[in-house]
Amino acid sequence: MELALDVASWFCLTVGAALCVIGAIGTLRLPDLYTRTHAASITDTLGAGLVLLGCLLQAGTPLVAVKLVMIYAFMLYTGPAAGHALVKAAYARGVLAAGIPEEAQEGERPSESDLPEEP
């Protein structure tokens, strides 16, 4: 039983850490903000979830387990909210997506004069 828990922890922690690194490489190499946000969200949900699950399997007391679940639940709520706010602000500011002609992206986007100056 002990050995099985250790093996499961090893698996979760290493796969979770590997997913974090892959997501970070994505944020470094992808061409524009919107795709980078997509790569970063992987590390926020699956990477963090697997790392915390690996810790959860090693938790000695129920209190520790509850704290780990609370951390993950909080990250599940705040990660998408922060990502949505980020992309919404970037879109309103006129950040362009890569690979699409600039004229095709204008649409109903506000002109620069509608927004306050960037600090």
Partner: protein, 105 residues
């Protein structure tokens, strides 16, 4: 090698790559994204470090970092978008402001 040490190594590498993105930019939103990633990985790092040293009480610190990280990301985004932290709800959604007539602010 301890399994928590392996996980910490991966998380530290992730944080370093996020720092590279934060320095390279090019827009302020890329930097905010990198800072958010960095903060999330800080939470994981503290949690795993607590298990590595056999003191899971550190999870309290990780919870506080999670709260602070979310608040700071939203605050910086609001500041960048509106240039003012005390922006009211009635001006929310600057995209819907009609372009003519100087409606914004």
């Amino acid at each position: 090698m301890n399994m928590f040490a392996v996980a910490m190594l991966g998380i530290v590498v992730t944080m370093l790559i996020a720092l590279v993105r934060a320095v390279k930019g090019p827009t302020v939103f890329d930097r905010i994204l990198a800072a958010n990633t960095f903060g999330t990985k800080t939470i994981l790092l503290i949690a795993v470090a607590g298990f590595l040293t056999g003191r899971p009480d550190w999870l309290d610190l990780a919870l506080v970092y999670a709260l602070v990280n979310f608040g700071s990301t939203i605050a910086v985004l609001k500041f960048v978008r509106f240039g003012d932290l005390a922006h009211g709800d009635e001006d929310e959604g600057a995209r819907s402001v009609p372009p003519a007539g100087g409606g914004a602010d």
